[in-house]
């Protein structure tokens, strides 16, 4: 028999609680360290320097562009993977997600061999149009999109696979063509996942370093995004590195907090 009166609320066991606290500390400690060393008095001038403003502008442009391009070409790719049965679908799915596990430096190098001035496609592009992708702002966008797009694809494909296609059939029976069905039924029904995928994609692009530095170089005002500027400043000017790190953290946190109601729900 149960003991009377004393209702035992199960406590979380120590063998899980202790490592969990260590895990939390591990995540928070670097942030505390950063804030402890922060040159608060010089922060105003550091954050308004040309270098900072250029880097922030480039980071915002390239990360937003990467998210937008991922939406334009990654969403249709996710749809194909989720809804169309074709030969080699499993292989395509694996290849599309390759940038997730590929070291970013290797990604950047591959982009250079393909799209560089003497690259597989790049040379033909240069010969006909005179355009050069590497070491340009466009190159930063290409590199960021390459590493970040799989986040959109993986999130949206999952949502499409879970969504009930009978709703699309119902829309068609009501006279809606393929485009109307996609726009008014498919997209709204996966909207939370699409938004989550966009945020993840943007965040990955915002923090992109390896592929960018390899493919687009590190030209201030041209290809030097905040992560690249932090890397350079770590060698030369620690205060700037600290201020730029704080800036990145603030931007990322703002986005997370602004969207918390949308996708911070436990699934």
């Amino acid at each position: 028999m149960m003991p009377r009166g004393a209702r035992t609320v199960p406590r979380p066991p120590p063998f899980l609680v202790v490592p969990a606290i260590v895990g939390l500390a591990f995540v928070l400690l670097p942030i505390v360290g950063l804030l402890a060393k922060m040159p608060w008095s010089k922060l105003g001038s550091l954050l308004t320097s040309d270098l900072t403003i250029d880097a922030l502008r480039l980071s915002m442009i390239s990360s937003i562009a990467a998210a937008a391009i991922s939406l334009l070409i990654g969403l249709p790719l996710a749809w194909m993977l989720a809804r169309v049965e074709f030969r080699g679908r499993g292989l395509v799915r694996g290849l599309v997600l390759l940038p997730l596990v590929l070291p970013p430096v290797v990604g950047g190098a591959s982009l250079l061999f393909a799209l560089g001035r003497s690259g597989l496609v790049g040379s033909a592009v240069y010969d006909t149009t005179g355009l050069v992708l590497p070491f340009s702002t466009a190159g930063v966008i290409v590199a960021s999109t390459f590493v970040a797009m799989p986040f959109l694809i993986i999130t949206v494909e999952g949502a499409l696979a879970r969504s009930d296609t009978r709703f699309e059939g119902a829309a068609a029976s009501l006279g809606a063509g393929r485009w109307t069905v996609f726009r008014k039924v498919t997209l709204p029904m996966i909207w939370p996942s699409l938004l989550a995928g966009m945020v993840l994609t943007w965040a990955r692009a915002f923090g992109e370093f390896g592929a960018t530095v390899t493919f687009a170089g590190n030209l201030p005002g041209e290809t030097q995004t905040i992560p690249l500027a932090v890397f350079v400043a770590m060698e030369t000017d620690r205060d700037t590195a600290l201020a730029l790190s704080l800036l990145m953290m603030a931007v990322s946190l703002t986005v997370l907090i602004a969207l918390r109601g949308r996708w911070w729900r436990p699934s």
Partner: protein, 350 residues
């Protein structure tokens, strides 16, 4: 609204399951496709609405061929003028009641805000017009689905298990509503269901679908008298009557039957299995049963069982064994006594 008939004669295989059927729905008639789960009913809905192209055969709606693989003909779902009332309503969860009803007109480029308002009013949805489907009742959801299907003024109406997700009371309301709208609908109507009750009440003619094939076609009475399969005999063969209930009794025409269910009142549907109706030569006595006298009007024998069509005051079908028919000497025209236990009579609100 122009009424159109449907002719369907097709074969389609999906996931290893083949549906091979042939049927016709004349304009202005309701045909029921009655079958157990997994018999291929939903596949027929998908084929007619154009979501699943057929492998062989031809489907004609009005004068248009909408699917004929041999001729290379296929009309896309959005170009077929069909209204579908889907199982569980299938209302768009991200749109309000109003927007759900207006979806068809908007998609066809004929947004008539007046029409949406009229349907909302007709179906008593004014109070919930701005709500999302998650915030309305099952009965309301099916009314929205009906309005959404009918607002486009389709030539053909498909009803896919329209009441399966509703509770008993909502079912009765929905059945009345469907009757009313089906009667006013000029085109072909196809009711897909696994409830004999719905088929008998709403359809002019019934096709029984089992394992992808139509095993029997006919009116409710024909199927009751001559069920060709076990399924038809067990489920489709049930007697269905309407009556007036009051505390433990149901009045059907001139006859009053005692029933076990005392909680139901007013207009009711009465179900009575043919196997539960006992026939006697002499008046049975001494037990608390419903007893009345009548005559045998029809008899059909098959597989050791005899279906007996009884006359006034309660035209129902009974089923007895061939042995008892012989031992009791029943013939068409014979006078018999009928007895039914109160517990064998099913009653639910009409």
């Amino acid at each position: 609204m122009t009424g159109a008939g449907v002719r369907a004669d097709f074969m389609v295989t999906r996931d290893g399951f083949t549906v091979d059927v042939s049927f016709e729905i004349p304009a202005g008639q309701t045909i029921a496709l009655l079958g157990p789960n997994g018999s291929g009913k939903s596949t027929v809905v998908e084929v007619l609405s154009g979501l699943l192209p057929i492998d062989r055969g031809r489907i004609t709606m009005g004068i248009d061929v909408v699917d004929d693989p041999a001729e290379g003909h296929f009309v896309a779902p959005e170009a077929r003028n069909i209204g579908v009332l889907f199982q569980d309503g299938l209302l768009f969860p991200h749109l309000s009641v109003e927007q759900n009803i207006g979806f068809g007109p908007a998609s066809r480029g004929s947004p008539d805000p007046g029409a949406v308002g009229r349907w909302i009013e007709t179906l008593g949805l004014t109070d919930v017009a701005r709500r999302r489907p998650e915030a309305i009742s099952g009965g309301q959801a099916q009314r929205v689905a009906l309005a959404r299907a009918l607002i486009n003024e389709p030539d053909i109406l498909l009803l896919d298990e329209p009441m399966s997700a509703l509770d008993v009371t909502s079912k009765a309301g929905m059945r009345r509503l469907l009757r009313q709208h089906l009667d006013a609908f000029a085109g072909a109507r196809l009711l897909i269901t696994h409830h004999p009750r719905e088929a008998f009440l709403l359809a002019d003619r019934i096709h029984i679908l089992e394992q992808g094939r139509i095993t029997q076609s006919g009116t409710a009475h024909q199927i009751q008298m001559r069920p060709r399969t076990r399924y038809a005999a067990d489920l489709a063969g049930v007697n269905l009557l309407t009556g007036e209930a009051h505390v433990g009794a149901v009045k059907i025409g001139d006859l009053e039957l005692r029933v076990a269910d005392r909680g139901v009142g007013g207009q009711v549907l009465v179900t009575l299995r043919p196997q539960a109706i006992a026939l006697h030569r002499e008046r049975p006595g001494g037990s608390p049963r419903n007893v009345w006298a009548t005559s045998i009007e029809e008899m059909e024998e098959a597989g050791g069982r005899v279906r007996v069509g009884l006359g006034a005051p309660l035209p129902v079908t009974a089923e007895i064994t061939s042995e008892s028919r012989l031992s009791l000497g029943f013939e068409v025209g014979a006078e018999v006594w009928v007895s039914v236990k109160a517990t064998e009579i099913g009653v639910e609100p009409a």
